[in-house]
Symmetry: C2
Subunit: 401 residues, 2 copies
């Protein structure tokens, strides 16, 4: 394994996030594949898609009614002979006889020679004739070719993550497949001798391992493919083998735990000698952070506490991952606090909060181990590093979870 040192030039949230963004931005250049449009929901276009056809493809009726020449119905009521019926799907090549009407369905081709359509509501059928009750000008209720889309018009720009309305437009111009980027592939490695998988009984000193499951869910919800979720003991050889496998199969690796100031910090102990930068970012929760590049693959090392891991993901990784996946940016809003809050001096704090009709309330309990509060929170309240207290009613910035 080769590695190169990464500078963490400063410890503010913004600078650390910028460092991560610079490191991950090259992942925008990923493999391209062609997928059928019906399977392309959520996939990210690798290039601008332009229309191969014009829409409407042919001159057609906007209404169920009668195709006529406007000058045949200049004086109304007027009775015209019926010269046929054109349904949607008919080729519609027969021209309109002079002074006659042809019944047309919505979407049916307009007979050559007709220049407007009289809606069926304004007509009365009388055997082989039709009585037209009101006049229309040339062009009315006729859809001219190319008035919606012309050949070569930009339909959906490159890098867009396709939503149903994009799929509808791509299908309407008859595209069978579109070129999309392969998703970013991430591997997750959790660490810690104290962790046991869900569903097993706990022995003294043990807790359940939730970070692998939680990070995998968060990655999937943000357009990333999770190629593996592994757990390492605090044995450096075990962790080293897992890092080698992960960096060999993924574009990006996340680790949790083992980055702090204890005696057994397996992530720091293995990755720092490989050029990893480990240190403290001025944020709570989630202060201890590490960043390493192993064989060209970025490894983001989050602290092991479940809430610290999730907040680290939200603050440092999610914005750039959504950008890379072509998804909408993380939504931020300004809301009034419904109660006063306190915050430690010198560390930017992300309080778990819940939006109410009155504003945003801090979810009770802000210890970084409070998983229950995280489940109830729907936003993070962003409190500046220099702020130590805010009164009820103060406007705060919140990030949607």
């Amino acid at each position: 394994m080769s590695s190169r040192p990464v500078r963490i030039p400063a410890r503010s949230v913004d600078e650390y996030r910028d460092t991560i963004e610079r490191l991950l931005r090259p992942l925008a250049a990923r493999a391209i594949e062609s997928v059928p449009v019906p399977q392309a929901l959520g996939r990210q276009l690798s290039e601008d898609v332009r229309s191969p056809v014009e829409l409407p493809v042919f001159r057609n009726s906007a209404m169920d009614g009668y195709a006529v020449r406007a000058d045949s119905i200049a004086v109304t009521p007027v009775t015209l002979p019926m010269a046929g019926v054109v349904a949607a799907g008919d080729a519609g090549r027969d021209p309109l006889p002079a002074g006659a009407a042809v019944k047309v369905m919505t979407g049916a081709p307009i007979p050559p020679g007709a220049d407007c359509v009289v809606p069926v509501e304004d007509t009365r059928s009388e055997g082989a004739k039709v009585v037209i009750g009101r006049g229309r000008s040339a062009g009315e209720f006729i859809r001219e070719p190319g008035t919606d889309v012309r050949v070569g018009d930009l339909l959906v720009p490159a890098a867009t993550a396709l939503t149903p309305r994009h799929i509808a437009a791509l299908a309407a111009v008859g595209l069978a497949e579109v070129p999309v980027f392969a998703p970013v592939r991430a591997a997750v490695i959790t660490t810690g001798d104290e962790l046991v998988p869900a569903g097993q009984p706990l022995r003294p000193g043990q807790i359940y391992n939730s970070n692998g499951i939680a990070l995998a869910a968060a990655l999937r919800a943000n357009g990333v493919t999770v190629v593996s979720v592994e757990h390492s003991t605090d044995d450096p050889d075990v962790f080293r083998r897992l890092i080698t496998a992960a960096t060999g199969s993924a574009d990006l690796v996340f680790t949790s735990g083992g980055v702090s100031k204890g005696d057994f910090e397996v992530v720091k102990d293995v990755l720092a000698p490989m050029g990893g930068e480990f240190g403290s970012v001025a944020v709570q929760p989630g202060g201890p952070q590490g960043l390493t590049v192993v064989d060209g693959v970025p490894v983001l090392s989050f602290p092991g506490n479940p809430v610290s891991t999730m907040v680290s993901f939200e603050v440092f990784a999610r914005p750039i991952l959504r950008l890379l996946a072509g998804l909408e940016p993380v939504r931020t809003r300004e809301l009034p606090l419904t109660e006063p809050v306190r915050s430690p001096q010198g560390r930017r704090q992300f309080l778990r909060g819940r939006v109410t009709d009155a504003g945003v309330e801090s979810v009770s309990g802000q210890g970084s181990h409070l998983v229950a509060a995280m489940a109830w929170a729907d936003v993070l309240i962003d409190i500046a590093a220099e702020t130590t207290e805010l009164p009820a009613g103060a406007t705060v910035r919140v990030l949607s979870l």
Copy 2:
């Protein structure tokens, strides 16, 4: 096939939407299955999930540091003998000898007898002793059992669609599986002789069939499983066979096309005699609508124009489908118009719009056939039926697409 008449009691958007919601609400009672928590992202809980354990499970350290008795460090600096090290994951059963310190890692059990932790930053190791630089009170940096979650606490309420933060909480309490509802299953039938599948050349009078692909994508994006997407010609026997198959395999059926006033309206011609209600809702686009219950299965019949189909889905189906799937409601906002708009008297209009820094702009071209505009729109602008024009700067309600 049996069927029963459905009343469409009125033709306003709100009343028609209410009718559909009443018809679909029984789908809330669906089959329940158990899924592993790592696969439960986006699935909807069928019951309240309560914690089977307390968190923290045991008394543990919030910091890397030294567990002591507060009365041993009442006067500082003080030098204490080191009586051992407890790592995270250790059983930690050995009690603290009187007047000594035990090194503890974050998350490690607190030795019986210790009542606070001194963070490592405030200490200095000296061989087999540790110098404590400042005092702490009983309880500091100790996480007591059950302070985050108690046994039986509500973690995630019934009907919630699980997001990563919910998954994190469920995993943290060690749940291996959770009970979830089976998704709503929908079938889609498009109709029209003029429609051909994507990727084929168009003959005169033909257009591409986009509604099946678009509706399937819209359904999937709103938590619905699509069991089939079929196309019917305008032959009533073909459509009747497809309706029988669809209502036999799905909870809900969508059709497009064949609901208007033309001579060949296959959907209306087949379903009206089975008790279907077909008529006009005071909305643009998407006026012609039909509603039938076939063998107990609701069949929603939208007009065939691609933009009418998608707007019908957004306005009439999406709100109730999101409710049934436990997803957040469709987001609505009030925004200023950046340009004047006109609207037909007597019909509520949903203009395709795009949000800008200045407010919301109508996307050029409001013909119901304008698929290109739909691709660019990110909201629908909701204009009341009685409104005929609004000036730039007027506040309008918009629905996110």
